[in-house]
C-alpha cells in the first residue's frame, strides 16, 4: 500500500517536472479556406497575411505572457461540405481561439450557425455576404474585416453610373452569395441616383458559358453588367466577351471574387479588350508606407516576395494581417484563450493602426464589420502585370 502510494507520488512529480520543463503550449488560430481550388490564390493570400502578423506577434513575445500563436490551416476546396467538416475539426482542438474563413461566402454562410453552436470565433477577411456577420446570433461570434455586399453593390452601381450606364443588368451566381448581392441591390434599388436594372440572369456554379445570359441582359437594354462572380466564372465571361464585336462589349463592373484567383493570368492579353473594373477595399498602393515596408520585409523573409505589387489577392493579405493583430490584442485583453472571453474582448478593442487603415474601434457589440462604405473603391487589372490598381491611384499617378 505504502509502496504503491510512493510510486504514485514519484510518477506525479516526474510528470509535473516534465510539464514545467516544457514550453507553455501555443495558442492556436485556424484557417479554413479554398487552398485546393484550382487557380485560386485567395486562401494563400489570407494565410500569408496571418503568418506575417503572427511573425510580428511571436517575435514580440507572443501573447498571454510569452505564448506563441500558431496557425492551423485546412483546405475546403470551396466545397461547403468540406468547410463544415474542417470547422468541426478545428473547433475541437484545445487552445483553438478563433478561425479565419476564406473567400467563399457560400462556405462561410453554410457553417455560420454551426460556428455559433460550437462557440467558435469566425474571423472573415474576405467573404462578402452580409449574412455572415449580420447573422442574427446574439452574442455574435463572427467578425469581418472586409467588404460586404451591401457596401459593394451601391459602389458598383455608382461606378456603373459613373461609366455612363443608366441601365444595368445583373449577372449573379445561383448561390447564397448571389442572393446576398441581390438583396443588397434591392435595398438600394429605390435610390434615385442609381442606374435602373433591366433584369437579373442567374448562372450556375460551374457553367461553361455565359454569353447567352450576357446577351440577354444586353438585349434587355443593359449598358453595363453588374457582375457577381469568382475568377473561374469571370474568366468564362471574359473569354466569351472577347469573342464579341467591340460594340457588343459593355462595361463589366465586377464584385471582387475575381481577385481571389489568377484571373489576370488567364485573361492576359485580353485585359484591355473589356472594360472590366472590380470593387476593392484595400490596396498596397494606398497603404501606410511605414507599415507596408514592415510587412513587406517580413513577406520577403518568409515568402521571398520583394515588391508589394507582386502580391496576389492583396485584400486577403491586408485584411488577414490586420484581423490577426486584432485577435492577438483581444487575447491579451481577455487574458485567456477562452473563446467567449476573446469574443467579448474583440468588441472592446480601440485604436489599432493597421495596414488597411487606422481603426478607432474596429468592432462593437452592434457592429461586427470593421470596414465601412468609406473603405470601398474601384480598381482595375493592370494589363502589363495583372496587378490590381485602384482607379484613384492610377488616376493620381497619370
Amino acid at each position: 500500500m505504502s509502496l504503491l502510494r510512493l510510486l504514485l507520488v514519484a510518477v506525479l512529480s516526474l510528470l509535473g517536472a516534465s510539464l514545467h520543463a516544457q514550453e507553455r503550449p501555443p495558442v492556436l488560430v485556424g484557417l479554413d479556406a479554398e487552398f485546393g481550388l484550382d487557380k485560386s490564390t485567395s486562401a494563400q493570400a489570407i494565410e500569408r497575411g496571418i503568418l506575417i502578423a503572427l511573425d510580428e506577434i511571436n517575435r514580440a513575445g507572443g501573447v498571454l505572457g510569452g505564448r506563441r500563436i500558431e496557425l492551423v490551416s485546412r483546405d475546403n476546396r470551396s466545397v461547403t461540405a468540406r468547410g463544415i467538416r474542417n470547422l468541426k475539426e478545428l473547433a475541437a482542438m484545445p487552445e483553438m481561439v478563433a478561425m479565419f474563413v476564406g473567400r467563399f461566402s457560400p462556405v462561410a454562410l453554410e457553417y455560420i450557425d454551426l460556428a455559433h453552436d460550437l462557440q467558435m470565433i469566425v474571423l472573415d477577411p474576405w467573404a462578402a455576404a452580409d449574412a455572415i456577420t449580420d447573422n442574427g446570433h446574439q452574442p455574435n461570434f463572427a467578425f469581418r474585416l472586409s467588404l460586404k455586399d451591401s457596401l459593394a453593390m451601391p459602389a458598383m452601381f455608382r461606378h456603373a453610373l459613373a461609366k455612363g450606364a443608366r441601365r444595368v443588368g445583373l449577372l449573379l451566381p445561383n448561390t447564397s452569395w448571389g442572393r446576398s448581392n441581390l438583396a443588397a441591390a434591392d435595398r438600394y434599388y429605390l435610390s434615385a441616383d442609381l442606374p435602373k436594372s433591366v433584369g437579373i440572369e442567374w448562372y450556375q456554379w460551374g457553367d461553361q458559358s455565359m454569353i447567352e445570359k450576357y446577351q440577354a441582359l444586353r438585349a434587355a437594354g443593359a449598358e453595363a453588367i453588374v457582375f457577381v462572380a469568382n475568377d473561374t466564372e469571370a474568366v468564362v465571361l471574359f473569354r466569351d466577351m472577347a469573342q464579341l464585336p467591340e460594340h457588343e462589349r459593355i462595361p463589366i463592373v465586377s464584385h471582387w471574387g475575381v481577385t481571389g484567383g489568377d484571373f489576370a493570368d488567364q485573361v492576359r492579353g485580353m485585359l484591355d479588350d473589356v472594360d472590366f473594373s472590380v470593387v476593392q477595399t484595400f490596396s498596397f498602393f494606398n497603404a501606410d508606407t511605414n507599415i507596408r515596408a514592415r510587412v513587406m520585409a517580413i513577406a520577403e523573409r518568409l515568402f521571398g516576395i520583394s515588391k508589394f505589387d507582386q502580391i496576389e489577392s492583396p485584400v486577403g493579405v491586408g485584411h488577414a494581417y490586420d484581423l490577426t493583430h486584432l485577435l492577438a490584442q483581444a487575447i491579451e485583453r481577455a487574458g485567456t484563450t477562452e473563446r467567449s472571453a476573446v469574443r467579448e474582448a474583440l468588441e472592446q478593442l480601440h485604436d489599432y493602426p493597421g495596414l488597411v487603415r487606422r481603426f478607432a474601434r474596429p468592432f462593437s457589440p452592434q457592429n461586427h464589420d470593421a470596414l465601412g462604405a468609406e473603405d470601398v473603391f474601384m480598381a482595375r487589372y493592370r494589363a502589363s502585370d495583372g496587378a490590381i490598381v485602384p482607379l484613384s491611384w492610377q488616376a493620381g499617378n497619370q
Partner: protein
C-alpha cells in the same frame, strides 16, 4: 374314436395289466385327457409356427409374387417410355424458350440503355454542381428540378445528391445502400458505380456517379440513382409478371423467384437459355442476364395425358396377371389345403384316426403318405404315454396321479349316490428290513405280490394304487357304511400278514392300514387323504399290523403335536432350554463319579420335562439342533468346571437315535466336541437300548468315531429293549444303565430284583460299568451295593440341578469313607 381300439399295443414295453382296473368309462377319461394334452400341444406348436391365421397362404403368396413381377415389368416399360417422352417434349419447349429469351433480352437492353442515357445527362447539368455548394439552391431549385427525373420509362427513380463524404444533401432522403462500397469508387476514384440490390423484396438498380467540381476537377459529391428494376423489367417485359421470367444478376436470380415457381426451378433450369445484355457503357459492369422459365404445364400437360394412358394399360395388365396367377395358385394349393384340413381335424378332435386321401400331385402325395404314417405312430405313442403317465411301472397299479383323478371322480359320484366311500391307506410295517436284508430285487418282488393280493381283494369298481415306496391306497366306492370299510381294512391287514414266498424264502411282513370315509371324515380328496394318513399313523402307534379309522381325537393329537413342535422351534430360537445336571455317585465311596446332563424347558408357565417334548422333537427332527445345543452346552460346562478345578467327573449326554441316523449329523456333533475344547475322555454319550434296534451296523460305525476320541459310551434304559448281547459287544459299550422301572420295585418285586442282578452280573462279566437309575431309597442302594453295582443316581442323592447349584452341591459334599461295616450289612 380311438378309445375303442384294442388295449396293449404290441411292443409297448409295459407290463400288461392282468386285468382292467376299472370299467370302460374309468379307462376312457384319462386317455382322452392325454389326447387333450397332446392336441393342446399340437395347437400350441401350430400357432407358434405362425400357422394359418398369421401369414399368407401359398396361393396368396404365388399370386402376390406373380403380380409383383408383372407390376415391375409394367413399371419398367412405363418408366422408360415416360423418360423418353419427357425428354422429347422438354427439347421442344427449350427451343421455343431460347428464342423468346433472346427477344426479351434485347428488349430489356433497350429499356435499360434509355435509362442510362437519361441519367448521364442529368449529372452533367450545372444546377447539380451548384446545388452541391449551396443549400438554398438545393432546397429551391434542385429538388423541383429532380422531380422532372423522378420517373424514367414510367418507373420511379430515387435520386440523391451526396456531399464529398457520401452524406445525402438533396433529393431522396437516403440512398440507403447495402454497403458503402460505392463511395470508394465514386467519391475517391471518381468512377461510376452500378450494382443491383434487393430492397423491400424488389430488385433495384443502383447507379452512383461522381460530380466533378469545376474548381478542383475532383469528385466533390455524387448523384445516386435507385431504380426499381423489378418494375422496369415488368414494364418492358409484361410476361415477367407471372414469374416465368427471371432476371439474373451475377448468376443469381433477382427477379421472378416468386414462391409459386420456386418448386419447379430445378426442372426449369434445364429448360432455360440465358443471354447477356448488351448495355450502355455505364451499365456494362452489371452482369445481368434474363432467364426464361417454361410454364411447367407446357410439359406437364401432354406428359400427364401420356402418363394416364400408361397407367391405364399397366393397370389392365396387372389385373389380368393377378387374376390368372390367383387361379393357378388356387389349383396348386388345393391338395395342400386338404392336407391341412385333415391335420386341423386331428388337432380339433384329438383323434389320430383321420387319414389323408392321396391326390395326383406327386410331391403332395408323398407328403400325405408320410403324414398318414406319422398319425399311426402318433396313435401308438399316445397310448403308451397315457399308460406311463397314469400307472405305476413296477406293479401296474394306478399311480398317484391316477389315484387322485379316480378319487376326484369317485367323490363326485358319491355325492350323487349318497353312498359311503372309503379311502384306505396301507403301509408295510417293516418293508425297509426286507429291502436291507434281502435286497431291492426281492423288495420289488414283494411289492408286486402285495399289489396282486390287494387287487384280488377289491371289487372291480374299486381302485388300487401305489402311492410310492411301500405305500398303497384303495378307493372303495359304493359302500353301505363305514363298517364295510372296516371289513375291507381287516381283509387287507390279514392278506398281507400271510407269508410271501420270495427268493425261496418265506417272508412275513405286516401292514398298517388307515381308513377315512366320506362323507363322515371329509368330502374332499385332500381331507380324506390327510385323515387316512392320520389314521395310518395311529395304527403304527398302536403297534402296527392293524387298521385304524380316522377319528377327531386323532386329529386333535396331531394338532397338539404340531403346536408342541412350533413351541420347541420357538424355544430353540428364544434359548428357553436349560441343562440341569443330575449327579451319579460311586456307590462304594460315595464319590461323585459323574453327572448326567438333562434338558429342561422352562416355558412361560412351567418347567416342561423331556418326556413331554423329546418324542415330538424326534419326530420332527428338531432333536437335531436341540441335541446339538445340549451337547455344546454340556461340553462347555464341563470344560468350565475342569478349568475351575472342580473335582473331575464324567459328563454324560443323551443322544437320540435320530442324531445317529446320518453321517452329517454325527460330523456336526464331533465338531461341537472339538470346538468346545473339552477333554473327550471326560465325556460320555448315552443312547437308549431301543435306538440300537435298527441299522445297528451303521450306528456302530458312527459310535466308533466318538469312541475313537475317547468318549465313553453308555446304553441307557437297559432291559427295556431287545438289544442282543452281540450288539453290546460290537458297540464297545463302556457303561450299562439299568432302567428306573427295575429299581423302583426292587425291594418288593423279585422279578425286578432278578433282572437287576442279572444286568449287574452281565456288566461285571463284560467288564462294564453298571449304573442304576432312579435310586430313591437307601434300601435300594444297599441292594445295589451288595450285588456289585458300581454307581447310582437318583433322588436319594440329588435331583437334577442347575449348574451353579450342582457346583455348590459338589463342593459342599463330604466324601463318605467307604465303610466295611455298612458293606457287611
Amino acid at each position: 374314436m380311438v378309445a375303442s381300439a384294442p388295449e396293449s399295443p404290441a411292443g409297448s414295453g409295459l407290463p400288461a395289466s392282468p386285468r382292467p382296473q376299472g370299467g370302460e368309462g374309468a379307462e376312457d377319461a384319462p386317455i382322452s385327457d392325454a389326447r387333450r394334452t397332446l392336441s393342446g400341444s399340437l395347437r400350441r406348436t401350430g400357432s407358434r409356427d405362425g400357422g394359418r391365421p398369421a401369414g399368407f397362404g401359398l396361393a396368396t403368396r404365388i399370386a402376390l409374387a406373380a403380380s409383383a413381377l408383372t407390376l415391375l415389368f409394367v413399371a419398367a416399360i412405363g418408366g422408360v417410355s415416360f423418360i423418353v417422352t419427357r425428354a422429347q417434349i422438354s427439347q421442344g419447349v427449350r427451343d421455343g424458350l431460347s428464342h423468346q429469351t433472346a427477344l426479351l433480352a434485347s428488349r430489356l437492353s433497350t429499356t435499360l440503355n434509355s435509362v442510362a442515357t437519361t441519367l448521364s445527362e442529368l449529372k452533367q447539368n450545372a444546377l447539380v454542381l451548384n446545388a452541391l455548394m449551396d443549400s438554398y439552391t438545393r432546397r429551391t431549385s434542385l429538388d423541383p428540378f429532380l422531380e422532372g427525373f423522378s420517373t424514367v420509362n414510367g418507373v420511379p427513380v430515387e435520386i440523391t445528391l451526396t456531399d464529398f463524404e457520401g452524406h445525402p444533401v438533396a433529393g431522396a432522403a437516403g440512398i440507403a445502400s447495402d454497403s458503402d462500397r460505392w463511395k470508394v469508387g465514386v467519391l475517391e476514384q471518381g468512377q461510376p458505380y452500378v450494382t443491383v440490390e434487393e430492397r423491400a423484396g424488389r430488385a433495384t438498380l443502383l447507379v452512383a456517379e461522381p460530380i466533378f467540381y469545376v474548381g478542383t476537377l475532383s469528385p466533390e459529391g455524387a448523384l445516386v440513382h435507385r431504380i426499381d428494376l423489378t418494375r422496369l423489367v415488368g414494364n418492358s417485359a409484361p410476361e415477367a409478371a407471372d414469374g416465368s421470367v427471371q432476371l439474373l444478376y451475377d448468376g443469381r436470380p433477382i427477379l421472378g423467384q416468386d414462391e409459386a415457381g420456386g418448386g419447379s426451378t430445378a426442372s426449369a433450369q434445364s429448360l432455360t437459355q440465358t443471354k447477356p445484355l448488351e448495355l450502355h457503357a455505364m451499365l456494362a459492369p452489371l452482369r445481368l442476364a434474363v432467364r426464361l422459365r417454361a410454364d411447367p404445364a407446357l410439359i406437364r400437360g401432354p406428359l400427364g395425358q401420356l402418363t394416364m394412358i400408361y397407367l391405364l394399360i399397366g393397370l389392365a395388365v396387372l389385373v389380368g396377371a393377378v387374376l390368372f396367377s390367383a387361379l393357378a395358385a388356387r389349383r396348386l394349393a388345393r391338395p395342400l389345403r386338404e392336407l391341412e384340413q385333415v391335420a386341423a381335424s386331428v388337432v380339433a378332435s384329438g383323434s389320430v384316426d383321420h387319414r389323408f386321401e392321396v391326390g395326383d400331385f406327386a410331391e403332395v402325395a408323398r407328403l400325405g403318405q408320410t403324414f398318414n404314417l406319422m398319425l399311426e405312430r402318433l396313435g401308438a405313442a399316445q397310448k403308451q404315454l397315457a399308460r406311463l403317465a397314469h400307472h405305476d411301472a413296477l406293479t401296474g397299479l394306478a399311480n398317484r396321479i391316477r389315484f387322485h383323478d379316480q378319487l376326484s371322480a369317485a367323490l363326485a359320484d358319491v355325492q350323487r349316490s349318497r353312498d359311503t366311500l372309503g379311502v384306505l391307506l396301507l403301509d408295510l410295517d417293516n418293508f425297509k428290513d426286507v429291502n436291507d436284508t434281502l435286497g431291492h430285487p426281492v423288495g420289488d418282488e414283494l411289492l408286486k405280490q402285495v399289489a396282486g393280493r390287494l387287487r384280488d381283494l377289491v371289487r372291480t369298481t374299486d381302485t388300487v394304487a401305489r402311492l410310492g415306496g411301500d405305500e398303497f391306497a384303495v378307493i372303495a366306492t359304493h359302500l353301505s357304511d363305514s363298517a364295510a370299510a372296516a371289513v375291507l381294512g381287516r381283509k387287507m391287514v390279514d392278506a398281507i400278514s400271510e407269508s410271501f414266498e420270495l427268493a425261496e424264502h418265506d417272508i412275513y411282513v405286516s401292514a398298517s392300514v388307515g381308513i377315512a370315509v366320506c362323507p363322515s371324515d371329509g368330502d374332499s380328496s385332500e381331507q380324506l387323504l390327510k385323515n387316512a394318513d392320520l389314521a395310518l399313523y395311529k395304527a403304527k402307534q398302536e403297534g402296527r399290523c392293524n387298521f385304524q379309522f380316522f377319528d377327531q381325537e386323532l386329529n386333535d393329537a396331531a394338532q397338539t403335536r404340531k403346536q408342541v413342535e412350533a413351541s420347541i422351534r420357538a424355544a430353540i430360537d428364544e434359548s428357553a432350554f436349560r441343562l440341569h445336571y443330575q449327579p451319579r455317585i460311586e456307590i462304594d465311596s460315595g464319590r461323585v463319579a459323574g453327572v448326567e446332563a438333562l434338558v429342561r424347558w422352562r416355558s412361560a408357565e412351567r418347567m416342561v420335562y423331556p418326556d413331554a417334548f423329546v418324542p415330538v422333537a424326534e419326530e420332527s427332527r428338531l432333536i437335531v439342533p436341540l441335541g446339538e445345543w445340549i451337547l455344546r452346552t454340556a461340553c462347555e460346562q464341563k470344560r468350565a468346571w475342569d478349568r475351575q478345578g472342580l473335582q473331575p467327573f464324567t459328563m454324560a449326554v443323551n443322544l437320540s437315535a435320530i442324531q445317529l441316523g446320518r453321517d452329517d449329523y454325527v460330523e456336526r456333533l464331533l465338531a461341537v466336541i472339538a470346538e468346545s475344547g473339552v477333554d473327550p475322555t471326560g465325556l460320555e454319550i448315552e443312547i437308549t437300548e431301543s435306538a440300537l434296534m435298527e441299522r445297528v451296523d451303521a450306528i456302530a460305525e458312527r459310535l466308533a468315531r466318538f469312541h475313537a476320541l475317547g468318549v465313553r459310551l453308555a446304553i441307557d434304559d437297559i432291559g427295556t429293549g431287545y438289544s442282543s448281547l452281540v450288539n453290546l459287544k460290537r458297540l464297545a459299550v463302556d457303561v450299562l444303565k439299568i432302567d428306573r422301572s427295575f429299581i423302583r420295585d426292587l425291594e418288593v418285586d423279585p422279578d425286578d430284583a432278578a433282572i437287576t442282578r442279572a444286568i449287574i452280573q452281565l456288566g461285571n462279566s463284560l467288564d462294564l460299568t453298571v449304573v442304576a437309575e432312579g435310586v430313591e431309597k437307601p434300601g435300594q442302594e444297599v441292594f445295589l451295593r451288595q450285588h456289585g453295582c458300581h454307581q447310582a443316581q437318583g433322588f436319594l442323592y440329588a435331583r437334577a440341578l442347575p449348574a451353579d447349584e450342582l457346583e455348590a452341591w459338589v463342593r459342599s459334599r463330604k466324601p463318605r469313607v467307604s465303610s466295611p461295616y455298612i458293606a457287611a450289612n
